[in-house]
């Protein structure tokens, strides 16, 4: 494998694998809780944090994290209290957060951040220090999710019942959203906004039908994400494509093909009953 002779490729691979695992775990929770839109909101609003970092000359990662944490908790509060209006409010924070960031960057003298790198990331130039931060955050998230597995499963499946059993439902929900905010910002630094959304949604959605527990859904999604990442990186290396976009196209293509195969499968006589009736 000559591709692994380059250090930047090894870093890219490690970053991709870490991203896949983190997104496999958090994406499972995102998909079963139907908070994909909220995740998109966090990811876009995070740009406001980047703008503030540049304008006020603050360190990028802490200020982006702080900003997204606040934005995500505001969105969580809104979704708790007013479910019908939640999507609208998330849309507002989504757009305003991003616009705020862009304006601040405009106002910062003599500096121009590349918006493309925010959207698609720069997985080929990940420094070793970012890998370490990702590793730490990944471990932390794994630990928290294992530790609070029962609680997270309970509120995800049946919030009302969990509340009746005395679980601090709102607290766990805020905890979930805060964890999501942290992940999203961390992963965006490395692979970009679009890939975060893709890896949070596509692998878990593909796994949901087959998994029998959140744990297997998380493991399966991580594995699936890892396969997409490796295939996409290889293609981007081979054909000189933007790596983030290549990974997403691999994921999207596999997703559409499996959907198509399932649909065709249903039309084949004889298999109809085994699927619809169990």
């Amino acid at each position: 494998m000559e591709i692994l002779n380059y250090e930047f490729m090894r870093h890219a691979l490690a970053a991709g694998l870490l991203t896949s695992i983190i997104c496999g775990i958090m994406g499972t929770l995102v998909v079963v809780n139907r908070i994909v839109f909220l995740s998109g909101g966090i990811a876009h609003a995070a740009y406001g944090g980047i703008g503030m970092a540049f304008y006020f000359n603050w360190p990028v990662i802490p200020s982006t994290m702080g900003f997204s944490l606040v934005a995500s908790l505001v969105m969580a509060a809104v979704t708790l209290n007013n479910r019908q209006r939640a999507d609208t409010v998330i849309g507002v924070i989504w757009a305003v957060g991003m616009a705020f960031g862009i304006i601040l960057v405009d106002l910062t003298p003599g500096y121009n951040v590349d918006l493309m790198s925010y959207l698609f990331g720069s997985i080929l130039t990940v420094p070793g220090s970012d890998l370490i931060i990702m590793g730490v955050i990944g471990t932390l998230i794994l630990f928290l999710v294992v530790f609070f597995y029962n609680e997270l499963m309970a509120i995800s499946y049946d919030e009302e019942f969990s509340g009746l059993r005395g679980l601090p439902v709102h607290g766990i929900y805020f905890f979930l959203i805060a964890m999501l905010g942290l992940t999203v910002v961390m992963v965006i630094q490395v692979v970009g906004l679009i890939m975060v959304i893709a890896l949070l949604t596509i692998p878990p959605f593909m796994m949901e039908k087959y998994a029998r527990s959140l744990g297997t859904m998380m493991a399966g999604s991580s594995l699936l994400g890892a396969c997409f990442t490796m295939a996409g990186l290889y293609l981007s290396y081979r054909f000189d494509l933007t790596s983030g976009a290549a990974i997403i196209m691999v994921a999207g293509t596999v997703f559409l093909v499996t959907l198509g195969v399932e649909k065709i499968w249903r039309f084949i006589p004889g298999t109809v009953h085994s699927i619809s009736e169990n």
Partner: protein, 263 residues
């Protein structure tokens, strides 16, 4: 066991959904709560559970305010809220019933093994043991309801509250399901919210008609001698209690002395 006294309830201070509700649920009761959509049936259940707070009046569950004795009430929610694709097995749904029992920070409930044993035993009792490892979405409506009942029974409640439990079940399955409830009723009081008074009429011991106000018919009334037909609180705004009488062989009906008195 449960007493509801002079309870008013409205959502956000708008028009009263329930007004001056009085109700007593006794040990071993098997009560049907009927009434039109939007009449406040589910709201009443949610008040008893402590999910909602009354504007006025008082509710007591075993002498305590609602929400305090969470183990004493078993709740089987309406099926519609539940995500069918959720990756969870029947047994894992039942194990949710262990949540909050003997909980210490960060970890829920009984030790996993003890809870699992109890969960399997409960599923066995409901004839569901062979489906324990199946994904919840693969089960039929009736099987799913049994899983939710098993979950509710995990804390050995004194009262089981079921919200529209027969909605997703065909008529044959419905009879089996009600027979099951009748069996359970030997140990636990049951309150069933339902549209379908006809289906439950051979099983219940009392009926509460809820249409903003509440009209209660005890077992003695249901089985009383005189035949009265209509009450002002059913699916078409009138409560055809005669249907109930047909369900009880040899039984007639007596009018309850409600204040409104509209036939």
């Amino acid at each position: 066991m449960v007493t509801v006294e002079h309870v008013d309830f409205s959502y956000n201070g708008e028009a009263l959904v329930l007004s001056d509700i009085n109700l007593t649920i006794r040990e071993h009761d098997f009560m049907a709560v009927i009434g039109p959509n939007g009449g406040g049936k589910s709201t009443l259940i949610r008040l008893i559970l402590g999910l909602l707070k009354p504007d006025k009046g008082q509710i007591r569950v075993l002498g305590e305010p609602p929400g305090k004795l969470t183990q004493a009430l078993g709740y089987v929610p309406q099926n519609v809220h539940i995500n069918d694709h959720f990756p969870i097995t029947a047994l894992d749904v039942v194990l949710m019933g262990c949540l909050g029992t003997g909980r210490h920070f960060g970890r829920s409930g009984l030790p996993r093994k003890a809870c699992e044993k109890k969960g399997l035993a409960t599923l066995e009792r409901l004839g569901m043991a062979k489906h324990a490892r199946k994904k919840i979405g693969e089960l039929s409506g009736g099987q799913r309801q049994r899983v939710f009942i098993a979950r509710a029974l995990m804390t050995r409640p004194r009262l089981l509250l079921l919200d529209e439990p027969t909605a997703g079940i065909d008529s044959g399955g419905r009879r089996d399901f009600l027979n099951l409830l009748e069996t359970l009723n030997k140990d636990v009081a049951i309150v069933v919210v339902t549209h379908d008074l006809f289906a439950v009429s051979g099983y219940v011991k009392s009926v509460a008609c809820v249409n903003h106000r509440l009209h209660y018919h005890s077992q003695e009334e249901i089985q009383g001698q005189s035949l009265e037909t209509m009450y002002d609180c059913s699916v078409e705004d009138v409560c055809r209690v005669q249907v109930l009488a047909q369900g009880l062989p040899g039984a007639g009906l007596k009018r309850s002395g409600d204040a409104d008195g509209n036939p």
